[in-house]
Amino acid sequence: MTIKEIFDLLKNRFENIKIYIEKFEVGEEYIVVSPDALKQILQEIRNNPRLHFDYLMCISSVDDANGEIKKDENGNKIIKGGTLSLYYHLYSTTRNHKIAIKTSVDRENPAVPTAIDLWKSADWHEREAFDMMGIKFEGHPNLKRILMPYDWNAGFPLRKDFITPEYYNDLKIPY
Protein backbone atom coordinates (compact mmCIF):
# COMPACT_ATOMS: atom_id res chain seq x y z
CA MET A 1 0.00 0.00 0.00
CA THR A 2 1.26 3.52 -0.68
CA ILE A 3 1.39 6.21 1.95
CA LYS A 4 -1.68 7.91 0.50
CA GLU A 5 -3.78 4.74 0.93
CA ILE A 6 -2.56 4.21 4.49
CA PHE A 7 -3.37 7.84 5.29
CA ASP A 8 -6.91 7.47 3.87
CA LEU A 9 -7.49 4.31 5.92
CA LEU A 10 -6.38 6.03 9.13
CA LYS A 11 -8.43 9.12 8.40
CA ASN A 12 -11.57 7.06 7.89
CA ARG A 13 -10.98 5.09 11.07
CA PHE A 14 -10.35 8.08 13.35
CA GLU A 15 -12.58 10.96 12.30
CA ASN A 16 -11.96 13.37 15.15
CA ILE A 17 -8.13 13.23 15.10
CA LYS A 18 -6.25 15.84 13.17
CA ILE A 19 -3.68 14.18 10.88
CA TYR A 20 -2.27 15.32 7.55
CA ILE A 21 0.44 14.44 5.03
CA GLU A 22 3.44 16.69 4.48
CA LYS A 23 6.05 16.59 1.75
CA PHE A 24 8.81 19.01 0.79
CA GLU A 25 10.35 19.56 -2.64
CA VAL A 26 12.63 16.50 -2.54
CA GLY A 27 12.60 13.41 -0.37
CA GLU A 28 9.82 11.41 1.18
CA GLU A 29 6.38 12.22 2.52
CA TYR A 30 5.31 11.57 6.07
CA ILE A 31 2.19 11.69 8.23
CA VAL A 32 1.94 14.36 10.94
CA VAL A 33 0.05 13.60 14.19
CA SER A 34 -0.39 15.54 17.41
CA PRO A 35 1.11 13.98 20.58
CA ASP A 36 -2.30 13.29 22.24
CA ALA A 37 -3.39 11.04 19.39
CA LEU A 38 -0.02 9.37 18.90
CA LYS A 39 -0.62 6.27 21.03
CA GLN A 40 -3.94 5.50 19.33
CA ILE A 41 -2.45 5.79 15.85
CA LEU A 42 0.54 3.62 16.76
CA GLN A 43 -1.71 0.92 18.25
CA GLU A 44 -3.90 0.96 15.16
CA ILE A 45 -1.08 0.59 12.67
CA ARG A 46 0.34 -2.29 14.61
CA ASN A 47 -2.86 -4.25 15.18
CA ASN A 48 -4.77 -3.62 11.95
CA PRO A 49 -4.33 -6.75 9.76
CA ARG A 50 -4.19 -4.73 6.54
CA LEU A 51 -1.37 -2.54 7.82
CA HIS A 52 0.51 -4.83 10.29
CA PHE A 53 3.57 -2.67 10.99
CA ASP A 54 5.55 -5.00 13.23
CA TYR A 55 9.11 -3.68 12.76
CA LEU A 56 10.08 -0.34 14.28
CA MET A 57 13.23 0.69 12.43
CA CYS A 58 14.19 3.97 14.06
CA ILE A 59 13.00 6.83 16.31
CA SER A 60 14.78 10.14 15.61
CA SER A 61 14.60 13.32 17.64
CA VAL A 62 15.08 16.69 15.96
CA ASP A 63 15.42 20.21 17.35
CA ASP A 64 13.33 22.36 15.02
CA ALA A 65 14.87 25.64 16.25
CA ASN A 66 11.77 27.57 15.24
CA GLY A 67 11.34 29.64 18.41
CA GLU A 68 12.68 33.06 19.34
CA ILE A 69 16.44 33.41 19.36
CA LYS A 70 17.68 35.56 22.24
CA LYS A 71 21.07 36.27 23.75
CA ASP A 72 21.75 35.71 27.44
CA GLU A 73 24.22 37.56 29.63
CA ASN A 74 27.38 35.97 28.18
CA GLY A 75 26.36 36.51 24.57
CA ASN A 76 25.39 32.89 23.96
CA LYS A 77 22.39 31.99 21.84
CA ILE A 78 19.26 30.75 23.66
CA ILE A 79 16.09 29.56 21.93
CA LYS A 80 12.75 30.08 23.70
CA GLY A 81 9.49 28.61 22.52
CA GLY A 82 9.19 26.50 19.42
CA THR A 83 9.02 22.73 19.13
CA LEU A 84 11.03 19.53 19.24
CA SER A 85 10.01 16.77 16.83
CA LEU A 86 10.07 12.98 16.84
CA TYR A 87 10.07 10.84 13.69
CA TYR A 88 9.01 7.18 13.84
CA HIS A 89 10.05 4.97 10.90
CA LEU A 90 8.20 1.66 10.64
CA TYR A 91 8.19 -1.29 8.27
CA SER A 92 5.95 -4.30 7.80
CA THR A 93 7.65 -7.62 7.18
CA THR A 94 4.47 -9.32 5.96
CA ARG A 95 3.03 -6.62 3.69
CA ASN A 96 6.36 -5.03 2.61
CA HIS A 97 5.48 -1.36 3.00
CA LYS A 98 6.99 1.38 5.13
CA ILE A 99 5.83 4.62 6.69
CA ALA A 100 7.12 7.65 8.60
CA ILE A 101 5.16 9.43 11.36
CA LYS A 102 6.04 12.80 12.89
CA THR A 103 4.93 14.47 16.12
CA SER A 104 5.94 17.82 17.58
CA VAL A 105 6.06 18.72 21.26
CA ASP A 106 6.73 21.97 23.14
CA ARG A 107 10.30 22.83 23.80
CA GLU A 108 9.71 23.89 27.41
CA ASN A 109 7.94 20.75 28.59
CA PRO A 110 8.35 17.89 26.11
CA ALA A 111 6.42 14.74 27.01
CA VAL A 112 5.18 11.89 24.82
CA PRO A 113 3.66 8.46 25.65
CA THR A 114 6.07 5.59 25.28
CA ALA A 115 5.90 2.94 22.55
CA ILE A 116 7.75 0.25 24.51
CA ASP A 117 4.68 -1.94 25.09
CA LEU A 118 4.13 -2.16 21.32
CA TRP A 119 7.70 -2.64 20.05
CA LYS A 120 10.54 -3.59 22.38
CA SER A 121 13.10 -1.96 20.07
CA ALA A 122 11.78 1.45 21.17
CA ASP A 123 13.50 1.00 24.54
CA TRP A 124 17.01 2.16 23.71
CA HIS A 125 15.87 4.60 21.00
CA GLU A 126 13.72 6.45 23.54
CA ARG A 127 16.52 6.52 26.09
CA GLU A 128 18.77 8.07 23.47
CA ALA A 129 16.14 10.67 22.53
CA PHE A 130 15.87 11.58 26.21
CA ASP A 131 19.63 11.76 26.61
CA MET A 132 20.37 13.85 23.57
CA MET A 133 17.30 16.08 23.32
CA GLY A 134 15.51 15.97 26.67
CA ILE A 135 12.17 14.52 25.55
CA LYS A 136 10.44 12.62 28.36
CA PHE A 137 8.59 9.39 27.59
CA GLU A 138 5.75 8.66 30.02
CA GLY A 139 5.51 5.04 31.08
CA HIS A 140 9.09 4.05 30.22
CA PRO A 141 10.38 1.75 33.01
CA ASN A 142 14.01 2.86 32.94
CA LEU A 143 14.43 6.36 31.51
CA LYS A 144 18.09 7.10 32.27
CA ARG A 145 20.94 8.55 30.26
CA ILE A 146 22.50 6.03 27.93
CA LEU A 147 25.41 7.60 26.04
CA MET A 148 26.53 10.45 28.31
CA PRO A 149 27.85 9.77 31.84
CA TYR A 150 25.17 9.27 34.48
CA ASP A 151 26.11 12.43 36.38
CA TRP A 152 26.23 14.77 33.35
CA ASN A 153 24.32 17.87 34.36
CA ALA A 154 25.32 20.36 31.69
CA GLY A 155 22.26 20.02 29.48
CA PHE A 156 21.15 18.06 26.45
CA PRO A 157 23.90 17.94 23.84
CA LEU A 158 22.06 17.87 20.51
CA ARG A 159 19.95 20.98 21.08
CA LYS A 160 20.94 23.87 18.89
CA ASP A 161 21.67 26.15 21.85
CA PHE A 162 23.92 23.72 23.72
CA ILE A 163 27.16 25.24 25.03
CA THR A 164 30.11 22.95 25.69
CA PRO A 165 31.00 23.20 29.40
CA GLU A 166 34.54 24.04 30.51
CA TYR A 167 35.16 21.27 33.01
CA TYR A 168 33.69 17.87 33.82
CA ASN A 169 34.96 16.40 37.11
CA ASP A 170 38.37 18.16 36.84
CA LEU A 171 38.88 17.19 33.18
CA LYS A 172 39.28 20.14 30.84
CA ILE A 173 37.04 19.73 27.80
CA PRO A 174 37.92 22.41 25.17
CA TYR A 175 41.09 22.07 23.11
Binding site: M57, C58, S121
Partner: protein, 385 residues
Amino acid sequence: MMNEAYNLEYKSLKKEGDSEIMILNMGPQHPSTHGVLRLELKVNGEIIEEVIPHIGYLHRCFEKHAEACNYQQVIPYVDRMDYLSSMYNDFGYAIAVEKLLGIEIPERVEYIRIIMGEFQRIASHLVAIGTFGLDVGSFTPFLYCFRDREKILTLFEKTCGARLLYNYIWPGGVSHDLYPEFKNDALNFLKEFKRNLKDLEILLVENKIFIERTAGIGVLPENIAINYAASGPMIRGSGIPYDIRKIEPYGIYDRFEFNIPVGEGMMGKKGDCWDRFYVRYLEILESIKIIEQALDSLPDGNVFEKLPKKIKPKKGIVYSRVESPRGELGFFIISDGSDKPFRIKVRAPSFVNLSILPEIAKGCFIADLVAILGSIDIVLGEVDR
Protein backbone atom coordinates in the same frame (compact mmCIF):
# COMPACT_ATOMS: atom_id res chain seq x y z
CA MET B 1 36.92 12.86 40.99
CA MET B 2 35.18 9.55 40.60
CA ASN B 3 33.01 9.41 43.70
CA GLU B 4 29.93 11.10 42.26
CA ALA B 5 29.85 8.93 39.18
CA TYR B 6 30.46 5.79 41.20
CA ASN B 7 27.62 6.55 43.61
CA LEU B 8 25.16 7.09 40.81
CA GLU B 9 26.23 4.09 38.80
CA TYR B 10 26.53 1.58 41.58
CA LYS B 11 23.49 2.64 43.63
CA SER B 12 21.40 -0.01 41.90
CA LEU B 13 23.67 -2.75 43.17
CA LYS B 14 22.61 -2.68 46.82
CA LYS B 15 19.80 -5.20 47.18
CA GLU B 16 18.47 -6.10 50.64
CA GLY B 17 17.98 -9.64 51.85
CA ASP B 18 19.18 -11.50 48.77
CA SER B 19 22.21 -13.49 49.75
CA GLU B 20 22.63 -15.74 46.73
CA ILE B 21 22.96 -13.15 44.01
CA MET B 22 26.47 -11.85 43.36
CA ILE B 23 27.12 -8.83 41.21
CA LEU B 24 30.01 -9.17 38.82
CA ASN B 25 31.39 -6.46 36.61
CA MET B 26 32.76 -7.25 33.14
CA GLY B 27 34.36 -3.87 32.89
CA PRO B 28 35.17 -1.62 29.99
CA GLN B 29 38.63 -3.19 29.62
CA HIS B 30 38.13 -6.87 28.98
CA PRO B 31 39.68 -9.15 26.37
CA SER B 32 36.39 -10.55 25.10
CA THR B 33 34.00 -7.64 25.02
CA HIS B 34 35.10 -6.49 21.55
CA GLY B 35 35.81 -2.97 22.67
CA VAL B 36 34.75 -0.72 25.51
CA LEU B 37 31.52 -2.25 26.72
CA ARG B 38 30.57 -2.68 30.36
CA LEU B 39 28.31 -5.56 31.36
CA GLU B 40 26.81 -5.73 34.82
CA LEU B 41 26.05 -9.38 35.61
CA LYS B 42 23.86 -10.64 38.43
CA VAL B 43 24.98 -14.24 38.91
CA ASN B 44 23.77 -17.05 41.10
CA GLY B 45 26.81 -19.31 41.33
CA GLU B 46 27.81 -19.63 37.69
CA ILE B 47 24.38 -19.09 36.17
CA ILE B 48 23.44 -15.61 35.03
CA GLU B 49 20.16 -14.15 36.25
CA GLU B 50 20.36 -10.77 34.59
CA VAL B 51 22.66 -8.84 32.24
CA ILE B 52 22.61 -5.03 32.03
CA PRO B 53 24.79 -3.49 29.33
CA HIS B 54 26.21 0.00 29.88
CA ILE B 55 27.41 1.80 26.76
CA GLY B 56 28.64 5.27 25.93
CA TYR B 57 32.35 4.80 26.55
CA LEU B 58 33.12 5.66 22.92
CA HIS B 59 30.57 8.41 22.28
CA ARG B 60 32.39 10.71 19.91
CA CYS B 61 29.70 13.28 19.09
CA PHE B 62 29.29 12.38 15.42
CA GLU B 63 25.91 14.06 15.06
CA LYS B 64 27.14 17.37 16.43
CA HIS B 65 30.11 17.35 14.06
CA ALA B 66 27.83 16.58 11.12
CA GLU B 67 25.84 19.76 11.78
CA ALA B 68 28.97 21.87 11.55
CA CYS B 69 30.51 20.53 8.31
CA ASN B 70 29.60 20.49 4.63
CA TYR B 71 28.08 17.41 3.07
CA GLN B 72 31.48 16.38 1.66
CA GLN B 73 33.36 17.04 4.91
CA VAL B 74 31.10 14.63 6.81
CA ILE B 75 32.41 11.57 4.93
CA PRO B 76 35.58 10.95 7.04
CA TYR B 77 33.41 11.08 10.19
CA VAL B 78 31.00 8.57 8.67
CA ASP B 79 33.94 6.22 8.00
CA ARG B 80 34.96 6.14 11.61
CA MET B 81 31.66 4.96 13.00
CA ASP B 82 31.78 1.31 11.96
CA TYR B 83 35.48 1.07 11.45
CA LEU B 84 35.45 -2.53 10.26
CA SER B 85 33.29 -1.86 7.20
CA SER B 86 33.90 1.74 6.33
CA MET B 87 33.31 1.31 2.57
CA TYR B 88 29.72 0.38 3.36
CA ASN B 89 29.22 3.40 5.63
CA ASP B 90 30.34 5.65 2.77
CA PHE B 91 28.04 3.79 0.40
CA GLY B 92 25.00 4.28 2.63
CA TYR B 93 25.67 7.97 3.11
CA ALA B 94 26.31 8.56 -0.60
CA ILE B 95 23.02 6.91 -1.55
CA ALA B 96 21.10 9.04 0.98
CA VAL B 97 22.59 12.30 -0.29
CA GLU B 98 22.01 11.31 -3.91
CA LYS B 99 18.32 10.76 -3.13
CA LEU B 100 18.18 14.32 -1.83
CA LEU B 101 19.99 15.72 -4.85
CA GLY B 102 18.15 13.57 -7.37
CA ILE B 103 21.18 12.87 -9.63
CA GLU B 104 21.93 9.78 -11.72
CA ILE B 105 25.38 8.30 -11.50
CA PRO B 106 27.39 6.60 -14.30
CA GLU B 107 27.24 2.82 -14.78
CA ARG B 108 30.90 2.23 -14.05
CA VAL B 109 30.55 3.92 -10.67
CA GLU B 110 27.67 1.63 -9.73
CA TYR B 111 29.72 -1.47 -10.55
CA ILE B 112 32.79 -0.18 -8.70
CA ARG B 113 30.71 0.57 -5.60
CA ILE B 114 29.25 -2.92 -5.50
CA ILE B 115 32.65 -4.60 -6.01
CA MET B 116 34.22 -2.56 -3.22
CA GLY B 117 31.22 -3.10 -0.96
CA GLU B 118 31.27 -6.86 -1.34
CA PHE B 119 35.04 -7.05 -0.77
CA GLN B 120 34.46 -5.04 2.39
CA ARG B 121 31.75 -7.50 3.45
CA ILE B 122 34.21 -10.39 3.07
CA ALA B 123 36.86 -8.54 5.11
CA SER B 124 34.42 -7.68 7.87
CA HIS B 125 33.07 -11.24 8.13
CA LEU B 126 36.64 -12.56 8.30
CA VAL B 127 37.28 -10.42 11.37
CA ALA B 128 33.98 -11.53 12.90
CA ILE B 129 34.75 -15.22 12.36
CA GLY B 130 38.37 -14.88 13.50
CA THR B 131 37.60 -13.06 16.73
CA PHE B 132 34.66 -15.35 17.47
CA GLY B 133 37.05 -18.30 17.30
CA LEU B 134 39.51 -16.40 19.50
CA ASP B 135 36.84 -15.79 22.15
CA VAL B 136 35.92 -19.45 22.27
CA GLY B 137 39.53 -20.55 22.49
CA SER B 138 40.97 -21.36 19.07
CA PHE B 139 43.86 -19.17 18.00
CA THR B 140 44.80 -20.47 14.54
CA PRO B 141 41.67 -19.43 12.58
CA PHE B 142 42.30 -15.86 13.81
CA LEU B 143 45.70 -15.83 12.12
CA TYR B 144 44.38 -17.42 8.93
CA CYS B 145 41.53 -14.91 8.67
CA PHE B 146 43.83 -11.94 9.19
CA ARG B 147 46.26 -13.23 6.60
CA ASP B 148 43.52 -13.28 3.96
CA ARG B 149 42.18 -9.95 5.11
CA GLU B 150 45.60 -8.36 4.59
CA LYS B 151 45.40 -9.29 0.90
CA ILE B 152 42.04 -7.53 0.54
CA LEU B 153 43.46 -4.48 2.31
CA THR B 154 46.35 -4.49 -0.17
CA LEU B 155 43.82 -4.29 -3.02
CA PHE B 156 42.11 -1.34 -1.33
CA GLU B 157 45.41 0.34 -0.61
CA LYS B 158 46.48 0.18 -4.25
CA THR B 159 43.19 1.78 -5.29
CA CYS B 160 42.75 4.61 -2.85
CA GLY B 161 45.77 4.78 -0.59
CA ALA B 162 44.34 3.81 2.79
CA ARG B 163 44.17 0.54 4.71
CA LEU B 164 41.30 0.96 7.10
CA LEU B 165 39.38 4.23 6.69
CA TYR B 166 39.06 4.98 3.02
CA ASN B 167 37.04 8.16 2.36
CA TYR B 168 36.43 6.61 -1.06
CA ILE B 169 32.76 6.63 -2.08
CA TRP B 170 31.57 10.24 -2.47
CA PRO B 171 28.04 11.42 -3.31
CA GLY B 172 28.06 11.47 -7.10
CA GLY B 173 30.97 9.12 -7.77
CA VAL B 174 34.16 7.75 -6.27
CA SER B 175 37.40 9.46 -5.43
CA HIS B 176 39.82 7.34 -7.55
CA ASP B 177 39.30 5.07 -10.54
CA LEU B 178 40.37 1.42 -10.38
CA TYR B 179 44.03 0.87 -11.23
CA PRO B 180 44.73 -1.00 -14.51
CA GLU B 181 45.52 -4.49 -13.11
CA PHE B 182 42.72 -4.51 -10.55
CA LYS B 183 40.67 -7.15 -12.36
CA ASN B 184 43.56 -9.63 -12.65
CA ASP B 185 44.66 -9.11 -9.06
CA ALA B 186 41.12 -9.55 -7.77
CA LEU B 187 40.48 -12.75 -9.75
CA ASN B 188 43.81 -14.26 -8.64
CA PHE B 189 43.01 -13.42 -5.03
CA LEU B 190 39.56 -15.01 -5.24
CA LYS B 191 40.97 -18.22 -6.74
CA GLU B 192 43.47 -18.54 -3.89
CA PHE B 193 40.91 -17.51 -1.28
CA LYS B 194 38.48 -20.28 -2.21
CA ARG B 195 41.23 -22.80 -1.48
CA ASN B 196 42.02 -21.19 1.87
CA LEU B 197 38.36 -21.32 2.88
CA LYS B 198 38.53 -25.11 2.86
CA ASP B 199 41.16 -24.89 5.64
CA LEU B 200 38.84 -22.70 7.66
CA GLU B 201 36.00 -25.14 7.17
CA ILE B 202 37.95 -28.04 8.63
CA LEU B 203 39.40 -26.00 11.47
CA LEU B 204 36.32 -24.23 12.70
CA VAL B 205 33.03 -25.08 11.01
CA GLU B 206 33.22 -28.84 11.52
CA ASN B 207 35.23 -28.71 14.73
CA LYS B 208 33.58 -30.77 17.47
CA ILE B 209 34.73 -28.56 20.34
CA PHE B 210 33.50 -25.43 18.61
CA ILE B 211 30.11 -27.00 17.98
CA GLU B 212 29.80 -28.04 21.63
CA ARG B 213 30.62 -24.50 22.72
CA THR B 214 28.19 -22.72 20.44
CA ALA B 215 25.29 -24.95 19.38
CA GLY B 216 22.04 -24.59 21.33
CA ILE B 217 23.24 -21.42 23.10
CA GLY B 218 21.66 -17.99 22.87
CA VAL B 219 18.58 -19.06 20.91
CA LEU B 220 16.69 -16.11 19.40
CA PRO B 221 13.05 -16.99 18.54
CA GLU B 222 11.44 -15.41 15.47
CA ASN B 223 8.82 -13.20 17.07
CA ILE B 224 11.30 -11.71 19.54
CA ALA B 225 13.72 -11.01 16.69
CA ILE B 226 11.10 -9.01 14.80
CA ASN B 227 9.82 -7.18 17.87
CA TYR B 228 13.33 -6.10 18.84
CA ALA B 229 14.06 -5.08 15.20
CA ALA B 230 17.12 -7.32 14.80
CA SER B 231 18.76 -7.20 11.40
CA GLY B 232 21.58 -8.74 9.45
CA PRO B 233 22.93 -12.19 10.35
CA MET B 234 21.12 -11.93 13.74
CA ILE B 235 17.70 -12.20 12.13
CA ARG B 236 18.78 -14.44 9.25
CA GLY B 237 20.19 -16.92 11.74
CA SER B 238 16.68 -17.31 13.15
CA GLY B 239 15.26 -18.39 9.82
CA ILE B 240 13.76 -15.13 8.47
CA PRO B 241 15.06 -14.18 4.99
CA TYR B 242 15.20 -10.42 5.62
CA ASP B 243 17.89 -8.85 3.43
CA ILE B 244 17.57 -5.29 2.15
CA ARG B 245 19.49 -6.16 -1.01
CA LYS B 246 16.51 -8.30 -2.09
CA ILE B 247 13.60 -6.46 -0.46
CA GLU B 248 14.40 -2.90 -1.47
CA PRO B 249 17.33 -3.12 -3.90
CA TYR B 250 19.66 -0.13 -4.04
CA GLY B 251 22.42 0.43 -6.55
CA ILE B 252 22.23 -2.32 -9.19
CA TYR B 253 21.89 -5.32 -6.90
CA ASP B 254 18.84 -6.51 -8.85
CA ARG B 255 21.06 -7.42 -11.82
CA PHE B 256 23.05 -10.08 -9.93
CA GLU B 257 22.06 -13.58 -8.90
CA PHE B 258 22.79 -14.59 -5.33
CA ASN B 259 21.02 -16.48 -2.53
CA ILE B 260 20.29 -15.42 1.02
CA PRO B 261 21.66 -17.95 3.51
CA VAL B 262 19.29 -18.61 6.39
CA GLY B 263 19.79 -20.52 9.64
CA GLU B 264 18.10 -23.92 9.87
CA GLY B 265 19.24 -25.35 13.18
CA MET B 266 21.63 -27.86 11.62
CA MET B 267 23.73 -28.46 14.70
CA GLY B 268 21.38 -27.49 17.52
CA LYS B 269 18.32 -25.29 17.74
CA LYS B 270 17.31 -22.79 15.05
CA GLY B 271 18.61 -19.36 15.89
CA ASP B 272 21.56 -20.28 18.10
CA CYS B 273 25.14 -18.98 17.97
CA TRP B 274 26.32 -21.62 15.52
CA ASP B 275 23.58 -20.66 13.05
CA ARG B 276 24.58 -16.99 13.12
CA PHE B 277 28.21 -17.92 12.62
CA TYR B 278 27.37 -20.27 9.73
CA VAL B 279 25.23 -17.60 8.04
CA ARG B 280 28.27 -15.29 8.05
CA TYR B 281 30.45 -18.03 6.61
CA LEU B 282 27.98 -18.73 3.78
CA GLU B 283 27.63 -15.02 3.06
CA ILE B 284 31.32 -14.91 2.21
CA LEU B 285 30.68 -17.49 -0.51
CA GLU B 286 27.74 -15.48 -1.87
CA SER B 287 29.83 -12.30 -1.96
CA ILE B 288 32.46 -14.07 -4.02
CA LYS B 289 29.75 -14.93 -6.58
CA ILE B 290 28.61 -11.29 -6.79
CA ILE B 291 32.16 -10.01 -7.27
CA GLU B 292 32.85 -12.48 -10.06
CA GLN B 293 29.65 -11.51 -11.87
CA ALA B 294 30.41 -7.81 -11.48
CA LEU B 295 33.99 -8.09 -12.68
CA ASP B 296 32.78 -9.95 -15.77
CA SER B 297 30.51 -7.15 -16.91
CA LEU B 298 32.41 -4.06 -15.75
CA PRO B 299 31.80 -1.26 -18.31
CA ASP B 300 34.16 1.57 -19.23
CA GLY B 301 33.50 5.21 -18.57
CA ASN B 302 34.51 8.34 -16.74
CA VAL B 303 33.92 8.09 -13.01
CA PHE B 304 34.34 11.78 -12.28
CA GLU B 305 31.58 13.03 -14.59
CA LYS B 306 28.76 13.60 -12.15
CA LEU B 307 30.80 14.59 -9.08
CA PRO B 308 29.19 17.81 -7.87
CA LYS B 309 31.46 20.69 -6.87
CA LYS B 310 29.07 22.11 -4.31
CA ILE B 311 26.34 20.04 -2.68
CA LYS B 312 23.35 22.22 -1.83
CA PRO B 313 20.15 20.14 -1.87
CA LYS B 314 16.70 21.64 -1.58
CA LYS B 315 14.62 21.34 1.57
CA GLY B 316 13.61 17.77 2.28
CA ILE B 317 13.77 14.67 4.41
CA VAL B 318 15.07 11.24 3.46
CA TYR B 319 15.57 7.93 5.27
CA SER B 320 17.58 5.45 3.25
CA ARG B 321 18.90 2.10 4.38
CA VAL B 322 21.55 -0.34 3.16
CA GLU B 323 22.55 -3.85 4.20
CA SER B 324 25.90 -3.42 5.92
CA PRO B 325 27.78 -6.54 7.11
CA ARG B 326 26.23 -6.10 10.55
CA GLY B 327 22.65 -5.37 9.58
CA GLU B 328 20.44 -2.52 8.51
CA LEU B 329 22.34 0.77 8.44
CA GLY B 330 19.96 3.72 8.07
CA PHE B 331 20.70 7.38 7.43
CA PHE B 332 18.02 9.96 8.23
CA ILE B 333 19.03 13.33 6.75
CA ILE B 334 17.10 16.61 7.03
CA SER B 335 18.26 19.39 4.76
CA ASP B 336 17.17 22.99 5.05
CA GLY B 337 18.45 24.33 1.75
CA SER B 338 21.97 25.31 2.85
CA ASP B 339 25.21 23.46 2.23
CA LYS B 340 25.38 22.02 5.75
CA PRO B 341 22.98 19.28 6.84
CA PHE B 342 20.42 20.34 9.44
CA ARG B 343 20.30 16.96 11.14
CA ILE B 344 21.84 13.56 10.42
CA LYS B 345 20.67 10.61 12.50
CA VAL B 346 22.29 7.23 12.03
CA ARG B 347 20.40 4.04 12.76
CA ALA B 348 23.26 1.75 13.67
CA PRO B 349 22.64 -2.03 13.44
CA SER B 350 24.87 -2.91 16.40
CA PHE B 351 22.99 -0.49 18.68
CA VAL B 352 19.72 -2.31 18.11
CA ASN B 353 21.22 -5.82 18.06
CA LEU B 354 22.96 -5.23 21.40
CA SER B 355 19.65 -4.43 23.10
CA ILE B 356 18.63 -8.07 22.55
CA LEU B 357 21.47 -9.33 24.76
CA PRO B 358 19.59 -9.13 28.09
CA GLU B 359 16.79 -11.20 26.57
CA ILE B 360 18.80 -14.13 25.18
CA ALA B 361 21.48 -14.40 27.85
CA LYS B 362 19.21 -15.33 30.78
CA GLY B 363 20.01 -18.64 32.40
CA CYS B 364 23.32 -19.42 30.70
CA PHE B 365 26.81 -19.77 32.11
CA ILE B 366 29.33 -16.94 32.11
CA ALA B 367 31.42 -18.76 29.51
CA ASP B 368 28.37 -18.95 27.26
CA LEU B 369 27.87 -15.21 27.57
CA VAL B 370 31.20 -14.67 25.85
CA ALA B 371 30.10 -16.90 22.97
CA ILE B 372 26.75 -15.06 22.65
CA LEU B 373 28.44 -11.66 22.62
CA GLY B 374 30.83 -12.85 19.94
CA SER B 375 28.01 -14.10 17.75
CA ILE B 376 26.12 -10.78 17.86
CA ASP B 377 29.22 -9.14 16.30
CA ILE B 378 29.12 -5.61 17.67
CA VAL B 379 31.40 -2.72 16.85
CA LEU B 380 31.41 -0.16 19.63
CA GLY B 381 32.13 2.77 17.37
CA GLU B 382 28.71 2.22 15.83
CA VAL B 383 26.85 1.59 19.07
CA ASP B 384 28.02 4.83 20.64
CA ARG B 385 28.61 6.89 17.49
